[in-house]
């Protein structure tokens, strides 16, 4: 599999690729020399493996790939990839990524974050990066718990979660990350799962291809503090009935059930037999309006995982912030006749209102 790299609309359009005929890179090239230190059985391992398998497929020069993370178990991710990387501070990864992506169009910039990192302390940076449509790919490892600090509930923990800091059950209504992103003008929003290597890889490809900010929610199991949170989606039989695989142009359906638009504007899952054919939702990832994607995102908001859309909710094309910022600068530079010279600088310093003192 290979992605459309040449298009200026691709997320990696200006990132140097390996020359034609060069030996392709492999998983090993993306494996750093650091020992991986997650708990046995942690879902992060699977994501890492998928990523190490996926990155070579991009065909990019390894040195032009950067991973930036916040703090959390998931945020250890960059250490294990042999690319450039920054393990930053809690919740702020999108800010570093924004600075880097704007300063350098020749990089493929990935943000690794957890549900606490991105939606608790870092919620504001996340929504701003999304509305600005900075060309960064944000992978949100959602294990519905604070792993690194040993098991407090997080902003995605289901209501009533008993944890170290909520012995009688958490009281906060959780965020649905996809809804938050859509409310924040995101141009690309998707969901996938740690254990589904194939789907995960597909979604990563789609994200890389997207020119702009991509938010990918990855359901991730934390066997230590929130084991089995997504087990119903991993059991084959149950998954068939629960997972709605989103495919552009296709009907949204799972098993013998199908999604229909209800009168109240919501999307409901009903037996196909009872569904009025004109009401059946045909997924379109690139409608300008995020309303349908939003209605789909609400299917998981009750926390039961009875109906879980998986895949790309929305992928629309909008100029990216960093491209536009660079555009304004380069237009000004071009208008000035190329990079500023010493004379230009001298002109700036002197300004228009000088006087001269002579000896």
């Amino acid at each position: 599999m290979s992605i459309d790299l040449g298009m200026p609309s691709s997320g990696v359009a200006f990132v140097p690729h390996l020359p034609d005929g060069a030996t392709p890179l492999g998983r090993k090239d993306f494996t750093s020399d650091q020992d991986v230190r997650w708990c046995p059985g942690c879902g992060d391992y699977a994501i890492l493996a998928a990523m190490q398998g996926f990155l070579p497929e991009l065909g990019l020069r390894r040195e032009n790939i950067v991973f930036i993370s916040g703090i959390g178990c998931s945020s250890r991710f960059p250490y294990y990839l042999d690319t450039y990387g920054m393990h930053s501070i809690h919740g702020r990864a999108p800010t570093f990524a924004t600075g880097l992506a704007t300063a350098r169009e020749d990089l493929s910039v990935w943000v690794i974050t957890g549900d606490g990192d991105s939606l608790s302390i870092g919620g504001n940076h996340l929504i701003h990066a999304l509305r600005r449509n900075v060309n960064i790919k944000i992978l949100l490892f959602n294990n519905e718990i604070y792993g690194l600090t040993k098991g407090q509930y997080s902003p995605t923990s289901r209501a009533g979660t008993v944890s170290k800091s909520s012995p009688l059950g958490s009281l906060d209504t959780p965020f649905t990350p996809v809804s938050v992103a859509l409310g924040a003008e995101a141009t690309f929003v998707a969901r996938t799962m740690d254990s589904d290597r194939k789907h995960l890889t597909e979604v990563l490809h789609a994200a890389a291809r997207h020119r702009g900010a991509a938010l990918v929610e990855i359901y991730q199991n934390c066997p230590i503090f929130n084991d089995g949170a997504f087990d119903v989606l991993k059991d084959k039989d149950q998954a068939a009935a629960r997972i709605l695989w989103l495919q552009d142009g296709e009907e949204v359906a799972a098993g013998d059930h199908v999604a229909v638009r209800a009168d109240d504007g919501s999307i409901q899952i009903v037996p196909r037999a009872t569904a009025s054919p004109t009401r059946i939702v045909r997924h379109s990832i690139d409608t300008e309006h995020p309303s349908s994607a939003f209605a789909l995102s609400r299917l998981t908001s009750d926390g039961t995982l009875a109906h879980v859309p998986m895949g790309v909710f929305r992928q629309i094309s909008r100029p990216t912030y960093d491209d536009m910022v660079r555009g304004q600068v380069s237009a000004a530079v071009d208008a000035g006749g190329g990079p500023a010279t010493d004379a230009d600088l001298a002109g700036l310093l002197a300004g228009r209102d000088t006087w001269t003192v002579s000896g």
């Binding site: 750093s32 501070i89 660079r326 700036l348 002579s358």
Partner: protein, 624 residues
């Protein structure tokens, strides 16, 4: 039949009026004229905190003070010789600052019952004799202006608005300045509004002519040109100079300048100025908050740009955690903090120097950064370059501590030649700098330059140097995560040592002691420079010998600091805080540095400091 001219060495003029009266513009123009005339000068604007406070109230008064002289000027002046007060509020708000005998020019049209009542004058101060120790020129400025524009096809309101130009014309006449530069300015400004253009020029000239004609003014004054070093000059405020310094430094370093910032008074203008300089390859991002602003700068630095963030006190507090990360990452970062009155929101439009300890210590852990402070509005340019030099050479955050007075104050600036600016060329690492256990070439991101202790700056896109950095303690040389106790001790020492080493490349303290026998030293930092020098001058005039010196680098201190401090029997340090730098000096050198402090939102008056010097010198003499 022109009036007699009296020669003055210096004069301090303050224009004061309602926010809507255009006093900042008037002051600016008079400044330009004076500068063009060759005076040395210094200015101090003073804005109300509100955007548009209710008209005619004390809160709405906006003023602009200007000190011009035929010799070099160090401060905007302690107290105005001339006050132009456009309404009762302006008079009331400023009167206390005037020495007896000062000249007051007021617009009597505004001294009506309503305006007087607004500021609590039962009787007009023009009538109750309370101004008898001043030279008061009470003129119906508004109506004369309106009359002078009788022929112009403008609304009455528009005509009234031109009264500031009338006042400027009058002052120009009074101080024998031609109106031509201001006329040029008006022509550019109103190029697209010919009606307003004509009216403003007419009002300006009418004011000038009014002085010439009326009997109210007996003579004019002249402040001759100061003898200044040869060169091309312009007038510049601290915020503009600082912005240009950043641009010049990036230019000389061959780096792109990336600013991440969030607006905050009195730093916002740096964002504004830089956002207009895209032609110089400057990228400015207005972030969602201060944390994002510094994050953007750090991200850009990681990518090989010169990352800068600008803010004021509360914003610096928010940036603390991320600055700590930059300390740990050892990446270049320039943090500009334009100090204002605190704590908390404090006095946003007023000046203070109370963020020094925050700059030094406002982060968790042992988290050393370089700190430097400009001494004057024009020094903001050089200090910004110096900050960039240190940041890039030592791969460290540098905090540049300007303040509200420097930011908005202005003075003539001898425009430097670009080739006179230091060469700040940076070399990125492009090759492996070590070998691994098996002898294979390897990049070691924390292998340091023995001179500077700086680590290599290897930016993404460089093949073979892929590496990861982060805020967890890292192993010396390899940069891998390390929880080893000895390594932590070593890295802590290396980070501290790197900052200490900066002292090797900064100039020693220079002492100013023309008499050569001073026993008292007055030491300052930041914007106290002007008042201290000025105070020393006047103290010396009364035979009080004093030495002065000035700290531009607050961390590390220059090598000779201890020696200089120990040379004197008394050391006094004026600061616009409760003695922050004095604390550092006392701790570092065990010298009994005496604090003289004021936290009033205003710069020191030179006269106040001169008095401090006299008392100290006299006290010392008495105990001889």
């Amino acid at each position: 039949m022109s009036k007699p001219v009296q020669q003055l060495e210096r004069v301090v003029i303050r224009f004061a009026g309602d926010s809507g009266d255009g006093m900042q513009l008037t002051g600016d123009r008079f400044t330009s004229d004076a500068a063009f005339h060759g005076n040395d000068l210094s200015t101090l604007p003073n804005f109300p905190a509100e955007i548009r406070a209710p008209q005619g109230t004390i809160h709405g008064v906006s003023s602009f003070q200007l000190h011009i002289a035929d010799h070099d000027v160090l401060t905007p002046g302690d107290s105005p010789d001339v006050l132009v007060a456009m309404n009762p509020a302006a008079l009331k708000a400023n009167l206390a600052d005037l020495p007896r005998g000062a000249t007051i020019i007021v617009d009597t049209d505004e001294f009506n019952r309503r305006n007087l009542a607004k500021v609590g004058y039962a009787v007009s101060p023009l009538d109750d004799g309370s101004l008898e120790s001043y030279h008061v020129h009470a003129l119906p400025l508004t109506s004369i202006t309106v009359d002078a524009l009788a022929e112009h096809a403008l609304t009455r309101k528009d005509k009234e608005r031109a009264k500031n130009m009338f006042a400027l014309g009058l002052l120009s006449w009074l101080y024998t300045r031609p109106t031509s530069t201001t006329e040029r300015f008006i022509k550019t400004k109103f190029a697209k509004k010919p009606d307003l253009l004509a009216a403003n020029v007419a009002a300006l000239r009418a004011g000038f002519n009014y002085g010439e004609t009326t009997e109210d003014f007996a003579h004019t004054y002249q402040v001759s040109a100061a003898s200044m070093p040869e060169g091309t000059y312009r007038n510049i405020t601290g915020n503009v100079a600082l912005s240009y310094g950043l641009v010049a430094a990036a230019h000389r370093a061959g780096l792109r300048l990336v600013l991440g910032s969030y607006p905050i008074t009195p730093a916002s203008d740096i964002l504004h100025v830089l956002s207009g300089l895209k032609r110089f390859g400057v990228t400015t991002l207005q972030a969602e908050d201060e944390i994002a602003g510094v994050g953007i700068a750090i991200g850009a630095s990681f990518g090989g740009a010169l990352g800068v963030t600008t803010t004021s006190g509360p914003g610096l507090a928010l940036k603390a955690e991320a600055i700590g990360l930059a300390v740990s990452l050892e990446l270049p970062l320039v943090v500009v903090n334009v100090q204002r009155g605190g704590p908390s929101t404090g006095l946003p439009t007023k000046t203070e120097q109370a963020d020094l300890l925050q700059a030094l210590f406002g982060r968790n852990g042992e988290s050393p950064v370089a700190v430097i402070a400009p001494a004057s509005p024009t020094d903001c340019f050089d200090a910004a370059i110096e900050a960039c030099r240190i940041a890039t050479a030592y791969r460290t955050p540098v905090i540049l501590l300007s303040d509200g007075y420097l930011a908005n104050g202005s003075e003539p600036w001898k425009v430097p030649g670009t080739s006179d600016l230091p060469d700040l060329t940076v070399t990125f690492t492009t090759e492996p700098n070590g070998v691994d256990a098996d002898g294979n070439p390897q990049f070691q991101p924390f292998l340091r330059d023995p001179e500077t202790l700086a680590r290599p700056w290897a930016i993404p896109g460089t093949p073979g140097l892929e590496h990861r950095i982060g805020g967890i303690e890292k192993a010396d040389i390899t940069g891998n995560i390390s929880y080893d106790p000895d390594n932590h001790e070593l890295m802590t020492a290396l980070r501290a040592g790197k900052i200490a080493k900066i002292a090797d490349t900064i100039p020693d303290l220079v002492v100013d002691d023309p008499d050569g026998d001073a026993r008292v030293l007055m030491i300052g930092w930041g914007s106290t420079y002007g008042p201290i020098r000025q105070a020393a001058r006047s103290a010396r005039l009364t035979g009080h010998h004093v030495a002065t010196t000035h700290l531009r680098h607050l961390n590390p201190f220059p090598h000779n600091t201890a020696e200089v401090l120990r040379r004197y029997e008394r050391v006094i340090m004026p600061e616009m805080n409760l003695g922050q730098c004095a604390m550092l000096l006392r701790a570092a050198y065990l010298v009994d540095v005496q604090s003289h402090t004021a936290v009033r939102g205003l710069p020191f008056k030179a006269s106040e400091l001169a008095e401090v010097i006299r008392t100290t010198v006299d006290g010392l003499e008495a105990t001889k």
